[in-house]
């Protein structure tokens, strides 16, 4: 991303600011912060050229804790600030930090447009299915029936699936990971950073105060093998508990649906299981919608499609115009008809 890397070998400490962290004890945000701080030095990131830009919410405090450039903006608008910044200095490596309320509710419009434009930046959406900073109201990703201060009888809103929304908006890099799975989260960030265009990463994150255990049905170690599908490009989509049977995904015959098959049952072999192709957009839609209990949740890179980055196209137009167009301001003021008064 940044063309000139600093000479000195940096460590996590170089990316850690001197500010006291003010998240609640046990918040999933700590794990995500630590993973970013550990990951950036490994890819040669330069703190001077790295920017963390956020909206409003618990997750949006993130920039204060990074010893990089940081911008804590207003609710939902981070993608718009980031777009203006990237158009001004395309060399910057910009990370937008948002949450399910900030990014999908008040900022839904900006999220949709930054994704379709394909501005070269990373968006990490911390999805804890709740409003934390305003004390526990239901969010756009809360499930129907959730009781919260603003839904005392249970929410009746249908939730949105962030990865599906991103794909629908035209996102070309869509990934998903889990706050506490550092060994999966770190490499996912590396892939996102390497992509030239908008990378959208949904991180399943736990809010221990207002929605503790919202992702337990996915993260529960006893069954994690069955509830998480770790996607790898070119590899069959297999999952299953260590001591249980191996399972896989295949297309249900004569439909456009996926189904779970068990290896060894009814003559099913690994050859029957679909191979993950991260350039396959229809497959990404199918994978994005999977969730327990009937399916595992798909983690990793769901889609990676190459396309022109918006900032590069904008800069190219300006540069090309500079070559062929008028550049003298005095001449501009005299274009069209002028006359002289003696």
């Amino acid at each position: 991303m940044s063309p000139s890397e600093p000479a000195k070998k940096l460590t996590r400490k170089d990316f850690t600011s001197d500010q006291d962290i003010r998240w609640c004890p046990g918040c999933g945000d700590y794990a995500i912060l630590a993973t970013i701080q550990r990951t950036l030095p490994t890819v040669g990131a330069d703190p001077a050229k790295t920017v963390f830009l956020s909206g409003i919410g618990c997750s949006s405090r993130f920039p204060y804790y990074m010893n990089t450039y940081g911008f804590h903006s207003i609710h939902g608008r981070a993608p718009a600030f980031a777009t203006g910044l990237k158009l001004t200095n395309p060399e910057l490596d910009i990370w937008v930090i948002t949450g399910d309320g900030d990014g999908l509710s008040i900022g839904g419009n900006h999220l949709m447009h930054v994704l379709r434009r394909n501005v070269d930046l990373q968006i990490i959406l911390f999805n804890n299915r709740i409003y934390g900073l305003t004390k526990g109201q239901y969010s756009p990703t809360s499930l129907v029936g959730l009781r919260s201060p603003s839904t005392p009888l249970g929410s009746v809103d249908m939730p949105v699936t962030p990865a599906l929304l991103a794909l629908g908006a035209g996102a070309r890099f869509v990934a998903r990971s889990v706050d506490t799975l550092a060994k999966h989260l770190g490499p996912t960030f590396v892939e996102a950073r390497g992509y030239r265009g908008t990378s959208f990463i949904e991180v399943l994150q736990n809010c221990p105060v207002f929605h503790d255990g919202a992702w337990n049905h996915v993260k529960d170690r006893a069954h994690a093998g069955q509830t998480m599908l770790m996607l790898e490009h070119g590899k069959p989509m297999l999952f299953g508990d260590k001591d249980g049977p191996q399972q896989g995904l295949r297309l249900k015959p004569n439909t456009l649906e996926l189904e779970v098959v068990t290896l060894g049952e009814g003559g099913i072999t690994e050859a029957d299981v679909l191979v993950h192709d991260e350039t396959n957009r229809p497959m990404a839609f199918l994978l994005a919608g999977l969730e327990p209990p009937n399916f595992p949740i798909a983690l990793g890179v769901l889609l990676r499609e190459q396309a022109a980055a918006y900032d590069a196209s904008v800069v190219a137009q300006v540069e090309s115009a500079k070559q062929s167009g008028l550049t003298d301001m005095d001449a501009l003021l005299r274009t069209g008809h002028t006359w002289t008064v003696e």
Partner: protein, 620 residues
């Protein structure tokens, strides 16, 4: 023109006001701008006022589909598009009924007689044909079968009737050009250029234009009518062009980018009457201008703020409803202390209001319309050409004081044109910006310049200056987040003092016309400049004790305004709103500023302000 009188040769007139009115599909804006162009080439001073409906193509023949273009041209220095027209061109009954009330008694009325059909008369609400019932006897009427004569003129080109009739505005333009002693060559050149790829369209329009001109020359006009001439005006020597406020604004912003050495990044969202600034800047990419048409008004200003943080001259252009949406982000820019230019091209409000009509009713929104104690520097342009200079002034203040600046113009300035003496870039003061590159001792993002109180503009990408900024209150001494009560008090006072300090950086308030003290002072701001100046000049010619002050720096006010206001027995404030500057002056200076308010979506007429002056002087 003052009077029409019979003459064998061309009669010289000092000044003429013509209004072209027709259906919004009749090409009246084009007719007006071509007449304007030729008039400028003739060396007259001029001012124009396009007045068109909000609908793109209202149903033909209806009163709400009427589009008008008024031009005032003279042999002397003029400042407004004129009060009542001397000449009205009405292309159909709807245009007649909506405009005839403004035509001077004894004025010249040119009508397309064959457009006065039963159906058109009915749509305009006429029960009988006004051309036949003597209801127009107060005017001198030239009623011609303009449609038939246009069809005859373009007949050789074999166009269908509908296409052929499109040239009727050119026929009319030809006649009016002849009436005032103007050549048609500039319009011919323009038509050939505009329709370079459709030469048959160009040539049929030219044929109509020439036919109209020839008609004037050969036909016997009713007695007592024309032809006329309006001698050249004595303008300050120099190179001139016509300019609209929105073009001047786009060029001023581009010039500011050159003078500061900053890249210009515009975030904007289409809105009437501001969109043409976005269009103009989008065509200036060769000057390094980046334009971003955002998904909404909020994203537009946010992108501009992001650009400013990155070291660009961040600009957003909009109208009143857009400013309302941008308020939170402007507050953030105040908190972040980043430069930003917000241009509000005001229109009639509230809500969607009168999108294509002019008003000055965003002043209080500009000065006060945000949450919290959030002082904002507010400027206003006085004329179309002044938009160029005020755009530069807004950028200068924004970068020097690290603050958002709001520049107010309005629909009247945006679309109105005036001859403009073209400046040379070399004579405009530069205001180069240097970004810090070294980390000074004790660096933090809110470390202030002791004189301006501006914080350093450290931009991302600079090694060693990594910092975090945001909308939360910051500690005065470290720039870290702070909820300390005494610190918030101090920071609020500091932000206020920084903006108040801008007054020391701008010229003292001057008297525009008249003495610095006396009986009556007329205080204005923005686009009322022309009408007020003309009214005050006329009153003074009649020996009336009246002076004029025109305010360009609205927040903070320039030094010396206080003394000027207190030097007069009475202060009146003409505004196109329900009393906003008058409220600010009362609040700031505890003086009895009296409002003269017009909220019709139309600019002030000179005589309306003269009447207000007379009435105040009588009661003094």
């Amino acid at each position: 023109m003052d009077t029409f009188s019979k003459s064998e040769t061309r009669e010289a007139l000092d000044s003429v006001v013509i209004r072209f009115a027709g259906d919004s599909g009749d090409g009246m804006q084009l007719t007006g701008s071509q007449f304007t162009h030729t008039t400028a080439l003739m060396g007259n001073d001029l001012a124009t006022f396009p007045d068109f409906p909000a609908e793109i193509r209202a149903p033909t023949g209806t009163t709400y589909g009427v589009s008008g273009f008024q031009i005032h041209f003279a042999s002397y220095d003029i400042m407004t598009p004129g009060d009542e027209p001397d000449v009205l061109v009405a292309m159909n009954p709807a245009a007649l009924t909506t405009n005839i009330g403004d035509l001077k008694k004894g004025g010249l009325l040119i009508v397309a007689r064959d457009a006065f059909t039963k159906s058109n008369l009915k749509k305009a609400g006429y029960e009988q044909n006004p051309l036949e019932d003597h209801s127009l006897s107060a005017y001198r009427v030239i009623d011609l079968d303009i449609q038939a004569m246009t069809l005859a003129a373009v007949e050789p080109f074999g166009l269908g009737t509908k296409d052929a009739l499109r040239s009727k505005n050119m026929w009319t333009l030809g006649l009016v050009l002849w009436l005032f002693g103007r050549e048609y060559t500039a319009t011919v050149d323009w038509l050939r250029q505009k329709f370079a790829k459709k030469p048959e369209i160009a040539e049929s329009n030219i044929a109509a234009l020439k036919a109209g001109h020839a008609y004037g020359e050969t036909a016997e006009l009713p007695s007592g009518i024309g032809p006329y001439e309006v001698p050249k005006a004595k303008l300050e020597p120099g190179e001139y062009r016509n300019i609209t406020g929105n073009d001047a604004l786009a060029w001023g912003l581009t010039a500011a980018s050159k003078l500061s050495g900053l890249k210009l990044v515009l975030g904007s969202y289409p809105i009437t009457p501001a969109s043409s600034v976005l269009h103009a800047l989008a065509r200036l990419k060769s000057f390094g201008v980046t334009t971003f048409q955002a998904e909404d008004e909020i994203a537009a200003v946010c992108a501009a703020v992001g650009a400013s943080w990155g070291g660009a001259l961040g600009v957003t252009t909009t109208s009143g409803p857009g400013v309302a949406l941008k308020a939170e982000a402007i507050g953030l820019a105040i908190m972040l202390e980043l430069p930003l230019v917000v241009v509000d091209i005001q229109r009639g409000g509230p809500s969607t209001g009168l999108p294509t009509k002019t008003e000055q009713s965003d002043l209080l929104q500009a000065v006060y319309g945000r949450n919290g104690d959030s002082p904002l520097c507010v400027l206003a342009a006085a004329t179309p050409g002044d938009c160029f200079y005020m755009a530069i002034e807004a950028a200068r203040i924004a970068t020097k004081f690290m603050t958002p600046v709001m520049l107010l113009t309005d629909g009247y300035l945006a679309n109105g044109a005036e001859p403009w003496k073209i400046p040379s870039m070399a004579e405009l003061p530069k205001f180069p910006v240097e970004f810090p590159t070294e980390r000074p001792e004790g660096f933090h993002p809110y470390l202030r310049d002791p004189d301006t109180l501006a914080r350093p503009w450290a931009i991302p990408g600079t090694p060693g200056l990594e910092h975090r900024i945001g909308g939360l209150e910051k500690d005065f001494n470290s720039g870290n987040i702070s909820y300390d009560p005494a610190n918030h008090h101090k920071m609020t006072k500091t932000r206020a003092a920084k903006i108040a300090g801008i007054a020391a950086d701008v010229p003292e308030q001057q008297v525009e016309v008249g003495e610095a003290s006396g009986d009556l002072l007329v205080v204005g701001w923005g686009s009322t400049y022309g009408a007020i100046t003309q009214a005050v000049r006329r009153a003074r010619e009649q020996g009336k004790p009246v002076s004029q002050v025109h305010i360009r720096h609205l927040f903070p006010f320039a030094r010396g305004l206080d003394t000027l206001l207190r030097g007069f027995k009475k202060v009146i404030v003409p505004e196109m709103n329900n009393g906003m500057l008058s409220k600010l002056l009362r609040a700031e200076f505890l003086i009895d500023a009296v409002g003269v308010n017009k909220i019709s979506g139309q600019p002030f007429k000179v005589r309306e302000i003269e009447a207000a002056i007379d009435s105040e002087l009588e009661n003094l």
